[in-house]
């Protein structure tokens, strides 16, 4: 059933609108005056002042690969992130770890790991899906470049952004 919302009955002075207009003009003039006198400080002058120190822990910036304490790449090239990535920004070329290697049980490592930052939507699904906790969304947000090629983060760049993470699962280590 349709509900008829009664319109408020306006008084004579309200129907004239002029007092309301004058009040509105007074409000905007007050804001202008406060800004001119430097009493309001609401905005931040971005390139000079940054908010980076206050970014929360869960901030979702650019995705990046991380190393563990021993300096090893944690990614095992399972390609789950590649499959889950909604805009298909991730491209992984897996490589095989030879049998005689110490870490042969890990089997695969990423030979190439590219994230196209033009496509990336910072959704964080790669971080969520990663079984090795190898990919994290870091706090970098100003990703810029002059060419399309520059906007593709390769493995080195991703590792540089990612840094080292301490004390999580250690699947690379020998089983006890």
């Amino acid at each position: 059933m349709a509900i008829t919302v009664p319109r408020p009955k306006l008084t004579w002075s309200e129907r004239l609108y002029l007092p309301a207009i004058a009040a509105g003009m007074a409000i905007t003039l007050r804001h202008l005056k406060d800004m001119l006198l430097g009493r309001t400080r609401v905005t931040m002058q971005y390139p000079e002042q940054k908010w980076d120190a206050q970014l929360p822990e869960h901030y979702r910036g650019a995705p990046a690969l991380v190393k563990d304490e021993a300096g090893r790449i944690r990614c095992v090239a399972c390609q789950l992130c590649e499959f889950i990535c909604p805009p298909r920004a991730i491209k992984i070329e897996p490589g095989e770890i030879p049998a005689k290697d110490r870490f042969s049980k890990v089997e695969k490592y990423p030979r190439e790991f590219d994230i196209d930052m033009i496509r990336c939507i910072f959704c964080g699904m790669c971080e969520e899906v990663c079984p090795e906790q190898a990919i994290f969304l870091r706090k970098d947000y100003a990703i810029t470049g002059l060419t399309r090629a520059e906007m593709v983060h390769n493995k080195e760049k991703l590792l540089e952004i990612g840094g080292v993470i301490h004390g999580v699962v250690l699947k690379w280590n020998e089983k006890k």
Binding site: I21, G24, I27, T28, L29, L32, D34, T43
Partner: protein, 356 residues
């Protein structure tokens, strides 16, 4: 020198001086001022990157507009598509020809063309301004510009009536359509919005203030509607019509529409200043016959008054929301038209029956 040649040279000098040295820089800095005022009202800082306090921003904007690709869509009517931006800009600047922007400088009257039908000339040229918008909307061959053009033409025709009727009381009082005479009258008898000035004891002056204030209000609001400024900017209402009549325009052609709006604002303010706020007159400052420095001060006072009015334009823009279209039409036809008509009778009664 041959008087005809010297007349032509002096007139050309005045045209170049006023249009290129005053009006066009004022237009570009009006855009800067608009951005700055809007920012300050909304607790922001506005343009502050290019030059000190962003003062070179208009130059950067102009460079950007000039260097952008001048794109002509394939579906437009080429000739009229190119013609429309010029038609939007030209009437706005032409109007300034009859406005006295100063007293005299070195004995030369500071008005380009002092014709005896000054205010009618202003209305005639202002009414041609609608062609730029209508042709832009029609030549774009696309629905949003067309709707914007239709809205704009009906809006401008509607408000031209109140615009014309609102100034009738002034000319009933003065008995002359020449704008220099209007300014001279205001110097002798007090500004139009202060007809009691100088002769404070006389009740007739106070009585005359009533129709003059009504005229001033109706005229100022009609100027807002004529220049497509908020709260009457329905021809380019972004939320409804994308960009209105200039949706299909880009680069310098868009800039001409954009600057044409500001030029129309400046000339509209110039008319308000001339008709109601005493033109170049400032109490206590003599005119240019006493020395060229006073002539310069008169010109400065005129443009300072315009700048103050431009600030009010911007202040209102960032305070009031946009009208709905039927409200706009109702306001124009039912409200201001009638007020202006009644105001003429009021002014005529005061002037006719009360002895001054």
């Amino acid at each position: 020198m041959n008087p005809t040649v010297s007349f032509i040279l002096i007139t050309l000098l005045k045209i170049v001086g006023i249009v290129f040295l005053v009006i066009l820089p004022m237009v570009s800095y009006a855009v800067y001022a608009e951005r700055k005022v809007s920012a300050l009202i909304q607790d922001r800082l506005g343009p502050n990157r290019v030059g000190p306090a962003g003062l070179f921003q208009p130059i950067a904007d102009a460079m950007k507009f000039l260097l952008k690709e001048d794109f002509t869509p394939a579906h437009v009517n080429k000739l009229y598509y190119w013609l429309a931006p010029c038609l939007a800009m030209v009437p706005a600047i032409t109007t300034i020809a009859v406005v006295p922007f100063g007293s005299t400088l070195f004995g030369v009257p500071m008005v380009i063309a002092d014709i005896n039908v000054g205010v009618l000339f202003v209305f005639a040229i202002a009414s041609l301004g609608v062609y730029g918008i209508v042709i832009a909307g029609w030549a774009s061959n696309s629905k949003y510009p067309f709707l914007g053009a239709v809205r704009s033409s009906s809006q401008m025709i509607s408000y031209e009536l109140s615009l014309g009727l609102a100034v009738v009381p002034i000319f009933l009082l003065i008995g002359n359509l020449r704008l220099t005479e209007v300014v001279q009258y205001q110097i002798d008898h007090g500004w139009m919005i202060l007809p009691f000035a100088g002769n404070w004891k006389n009740p007739v002056g106070w009585l005359l203030a009533v129709p003059m204030w009504i005229s001033f209000g109706v005229f100022a609001i009609a100027v807002f509607a004529e220049t497509n400024r908020l709260p009457f900017d329905l021809p380019e209402a972004e939320t409804e019509l994308v960009g209105g009549y200039h949706t299909e325009y880009s680069s310098m052609k868009f800039a001409l529409f954009f600057l044409g709006e500001y030029a129309a604002m400046i000339t509209g303010s110039a008319i308000i200043v001339t008709l109601f706020l005493g033109g170049w007159h400032f109490p206590g400052v003599p005119d240019g016959s006493r020395g060229w420095i006073f002539g310069l001060i008169n010109i400065f006072v005129f443009f300072a008054k315009i700048a103050a009015l431009l600030f009010v334009f911007m202040w209102i823009r960032f305070t009031l929301p946009r009208f709905r279209y039927d409200q706009l039409m109702r306001l124009g036809w039912v409200f201001f038209f009638e007020i202006a008509l009644v105001n003429i009778f009021l002014a005529a009664a005061i002037i006719g029956f009360v002895d001054r």
